[in-house]
Subunit: 441 residues, 4 copies
């Protein structure tokens, strides 16, 4: 085993009173919440790109994080050291899953053949490390946005040559994900969108996007990959008009193209708020359509206009998320991928542990709170009561689809004005606050 984090031992659960910042206060992997352990509920994954490839560079400045695994050697040697560091990190942190893009673990070669060979080599090494440690792959994905060839889109590029290149990367990564026992595969259309309609044919681009996804779904079946395919909506970045703007847009697109049986959604907190939606709205929209597959658990800064990808330590957001997850009976085979990065000035490798500990503790506590709320059933009963008018009479007739506008007019002429009923939002918010702020007693 490598030793890239010499100051950090295996992170232990020490309970909420611990003064040790390198311990879990709430996350206790084997603790049962209902009939499943915390680990089974949360299915936490580390995001390879941020945690092992991130350098602290931003549009205004250079690298601030100089990692020991990046010192010396060829690109492939660095890639190997990085992979060892990653599994050391996973093991010390005690997570069961990780996620990666093809180009995160293997540097691009001089051409596709070399890139594929490098990727295969690194995946074989990852497979061995998975076996050694028990860590598993939550999802794989292909990076179809960093290389300059994708500057005008991948599958929505005006040049079919670029489409073909993107498709080739997906082919290889589907194979690799299958080999590694990955339980999902994610499409994030980083450059699938447009900057200006002055040079764009959106009808044609959307058609190409659908063709691309169809090819991937077909190939998945061809090779017998049984993981779930996921699309991750995101607005505004990096392309001004992203085709996968939000959950509703993606669901509509999938249904319009007959792809809704093949794909579910991977919902990210920060992408939700960039689209002008609450995180919980996006989760609930996906879930209501039976399409919530997995979660990118992070946090944005609503006063800033880009994807800050912060670690989620907001208990309100986490409780809202876990409520949707529990309501749909869990997230598997999806999980909580911590698609988050330490701040640019958090330059020590120990900061990577602090960050993940904070996020995991927050979601662990949120799980317990959401579970208690669900068990108590007060909120669910309140909602059921509120809509009870639709369970019989004119309401039931409306829901049956047999009512007409004439029926409606007759009903109102006979029954007059409806009564105003308070929605009780403040009382309900207080109730949730009581659960959140008092559970640990």
């Amino acid at each position: 085993m490598s030793d890239y984090f010499p100051k950090v031992s295996k992170i232990k659960y020490e309970g909420p009173d611990s003064k040790n910042p390198l311990s879990f206060k709430h996350y206790n992997a084997s603790e049962k919440v209902g009939d499943k352990t915390m680990a089974e509920h949360l299915r936490v994954a580390v995001a390879y790109w941020h945690t092992f490839c991130g350098t602290g560079g931003d549009p205004f400045g250079d690298q601030t994080m100089f990692r020991p695994w990046d010192e010396g050697g060829s690109d492939m040697e660095k890639a190997e050291k990085r992979l060892q560091a990653a599994f050391e990190f996973f093991t010390k942190l005690g997570v069961e899953y990780y996620c990666f893009h093809d180009r995160d673990i293997a540097p691009e070669g001089k051409d596709l053949a070399e890139s594929n060979a490098r990727l295969e080599k690194m995946c074989n090494m990852a497979l061995q490390l998975q076996r050694d440690t028990g860590v598993k792959l939550l999802w794989g994905t292909a990076n179809l946005f960093s290389n300059p060839r994708y500057m005008c889109g991948a599958s929505t590029n005006p040049d079919p040559h670029v489409f073909a290149y993107a498709a080739s990367q997906v082919k290889k990564m589907l194979e690799m994900t299958k080999m590694l026992g990955g339980v999902n595969y994610v499409f994030w259309g980083g450059r699938e969108g447009y900057e200006t309609l002055l040079n764009t044919d959106i009808e044609r681009e959307l058609d190409h996007l659908a063709k691309f996804l169809q090819m991937a779904a077909d190939y998945k079946k061809e090779i017998g990959f049984e993981g779930q395919l996921l699309i991750e909506p995101k607005p505004k970045e990096p392309t001004k008009h992203q085709y996968d703007f939000d959950a509703a847009t993606v669901i509509g697109f999938l249904k319009a193209n007959g792809l809704d049986k093949d794909f579910k959604l991977n919902i990210e907190a920060n992408h939700s708020t960039l689209a002008g939606h609450a995180f919980q709205h996006e989760l609930a929209t996906a879930s209501a359509n039976g399409m919530l597959g997995s979660i990118d658990a992070n946090r944005g800064d609503l006063l800033l206009g880009w994807d800050t990808d912060q670690f989620s330590t907001d208990i309100y957001d986490a409780v809202a998320a876990m409520t949707v997850v529990l309501d749909q009976g869990g997230l598997a085979p999806g999980g909580l991928n911590f698609d988050a990065k330490v701040r640019r000035s958090s330059t020590d490798v120990e900061d990577l542990f602090h960050a993940h500990i904070g996020g995991m503790d927050t979601f662990a506590l949120a799980l317990k709170i959401a579970w208690k709320m669900k068990q108590d059933g007060i909120l669910a009963k309140n909602i059921a009561d509120r809509y009870a008018g639709y369970n019989s009479g004119i309401g039931a007739k409306i829901e049956s689809g047999s009512a007409t506008l004439k029926d409606m007019e007759e009903f109102v002429l006979a029954n007059g004005e409806p009564k105003l009923v308070s929605g009780r939002q403040e009382m309900l918010e207080n109730l949730v606050n009581q659960y959140i702020l008092d559970l640990s007693r």
Copy 2:
């Protein structure tokens, strides 16, 4: 004829050199642009609510506009004076269309029966005024958001009694719109959304919304109304999470519920930008789906977070809009409804004329610019060339739907890296600026 605007005569086209602010500089109704007149292209409508019912009230202050038609008399007498003022305005301005909500022209009565009777009375008066003046109804709609009964939604209200009330209003307004020869009917779901998931069942609410629209589509057929049904997307206001967030969301919803043959979209500029999209993006998205039915032509303030409903005087926006309209072969039976209001301190009735003149002139000039751009064909050719790779070879195979990931990989292994080709955005923006800033020479 009434005389509510004594200082204003019939507004005439006087050309771009005129110093008369109460004249058109570009809008010349009968001037041909291609094979249609400006009036036939633009189909301008006045929005009854803003122009005749607006009082200047805002969340921080009371009425600033004291209109002569609101002085003295019962509510119904005021309504009659208001209608006369409106047709005097339409006639002096020289527009062919107007749009209204049921409650704009007839005040709500003590119950539905009285409200319906009042509405019928006012519509009969409107019919006579239409015959007298030649002005026509672009669209009718029902106000399902102002009355307190709709505080928690209309068709998405937890109480089916409220659903029934809303449906009754739609029934009556469909009948009235038919009687008045209206060529469209609009649904804006002002309160169709939710404030908090703590008291909301979104699955059930979305189901009710679909049922509601289906009833309306059925009733339309039953009574033989031949106008186009339209849905107007809007995010964030007045309900935090509006179900009709944007064009893509609405299109997805309509298709998922089998309603996409019955409805098209009415796209508003300010609603587009509130959703985080360019106006042209929403127009193009609707048009690409064959669902751009009509336009609410106004302008927002992108530095403010609400629907400012300003009159559109931005030539860039107007050219972008007219480009989409010309590309799809026109907007009929839809039109350009000036869903805009004068600023709160523009307190004179003459300001209503200034505002409409500014908007009409801007769209008239935009029509001529967009027409010229389309005739020249440079931009269209540039786009066609950019995607030419999809017309044959591997591109054509992709578009045919017969290509596989393996084909893609073979192609790339054989053909190597694609070339980077500049998207030329700046050159294209300069070209558009040249059309915009030089046409009048």
Copy 3:
């Protein structure tokens, strides 16, 4: 005593386990936190306008809240009933303070003389109720934005006649605030700004604003009013460019006009976020300048672009605020004014209690958490250590003002490159979360 809230008895502290929604879980007025009681720390005030004058109207709909004190009688009779209801509410809730605008408690008369007489009458009644109940006035203010005369500004109106009217209202309300023993007086420049530079002379308007504030400061001294004068910054609403955009802008303006000894700031959470700042940033900015006078405690919705004025139940925001307050040694004579309104569909009078209870509990718990953090001193020590380099050597020379660019260059040439030191943001966020989520144990 009136009986407008028959279902509500005096709200009691019942502790965090109580299932009674009409009880305090954390707010315990007489409980000591350090050397002061909770009530002395928090100085909670009810905002008269939202709680007793609010009707639920919004830009898209009419009144939803029909209050018993608004039924029947003349305007002045209603005003008297409203005032009785208010003091019943204050007493049952157990707060010590309230705040009001002149026009909240007394309806405007046919001219200034009558308006002043009405205001005096109502203030005399308020004085008696204050004596009867022990409730006190945190601050008074004049409404210089609702009446149409203020549509283009009050002190910044192009017409000096309007300036004079606004000044007359301020004169009277300074007198009334003094009579009622108010301990502060607030200026919120609701319409002090501009919509378009096409009709605005900002130099002249800013000069008039300064003159106006100077007159008020002079008159305060003349009548011997000893309360603190406060300015409340707000951006964007209702005027597009508000002159009092944020704390830094107001502080700069006051200093430039020699008014910074006469005024402090009243910082509102929702106004902070509308300006693009964190609530805590605005508090800290005011406090760092010695100018944090009072707080409007509410909450905005960062996904919406206007002042939603929600009751604050976010423990993170409340802890951040109380941290700044404790760091400057308290807020007196200022306090926490709950400038917040129940949601439009919270239509029962009981909702007013739920809302205030939620806000008061949140700030009470936040006070305890912030106090604990301050006592432990860990965060303060961390900050002090981080800047320790400025306590001696080159750092001390810089702070002394005696260092030059040449000194700096010499130092670097001698000492080389500085070391990168992690800012530890994630670890600190975890630490705060631990305080917040575990305190009640």
Copy 4:
């Protein structure tokens, strides 16, 4: 002379009818507008960093622009080729000015001494090229944000060693700017701000910032540099809370620290809108305080939340800007620095010309429009008339500072209610549109 742009000859003015995209349609350097030439009015500068150092990298992708001057050789050899390319570009474009950061033209060395030596070498080369071509330096500046040492601020860094490093860079660049005859020197506090108050002492940081600026102002005098010192406000990026948020904040800070005689402001369009202000608001605010020194002419995308730095082709913005500039009698010694970059997919060197031509043409036309508006005087007269009430009587007394609240009350009691007067915003907007859309006829 180098030949890095072989496809581009000297750009000529060919007038608005030209079909040649590589020609000016409106910018005609020697054309007189009033008593000055266009070149004298506009003082256009090219921004070295974007145009010669930009690579097309963004947070999601690598370099897309592979420039001939970056091929082969050592870092210093590349720097020399880049400088030659730059002067070739300036000359072919026909601009008179450029701007640069120290690190743009000379790569950082192994320590400060080497960095300074490299900078001197490159500045000597630049001086020779300036002499050869007649191109001049509008302003110099030091890059105090890219190097990792500045990750927690430059002058506001917790470590005085970093402060000293930043100060050393400023010292050298003040010297170099003087040597090159630069007529301004700019401070943009890229990292002067904070990410979280959990680790920040804002009082101390603001004090250090003031000390830093004072040292620079002192050294300027010491070395006899006669250029204007400028501060460039910017919010949100790269640091969440930037101390130089907007014009009002910076002006307040300068005045509070006695620095307002030494500094003026450099206002950027995109920074203005990120702060929630119209570009013209920021220009007007600076100008009203006598502190508008120079302009960074670019354009943001108001639907995106970061600094997109697009070339300004919006005629409305440009007219608004030139109106403020003409109203204050010009911008010299400041100018219009095109702080803008071509889009990431505009990968050809020719795109750099298209972009600058578009921006220069837009501002040239805007100059002519704004000049015409000023000559006609209609808008200015309208504003003067609107405030005429302050020229005599009670208005004059208010402006004199001798009026009291009692005077105001007496006036209102005697004169009653003011009259509502329309602000005529729509008519004025139409008038501006008429100037903009018709001038070229």
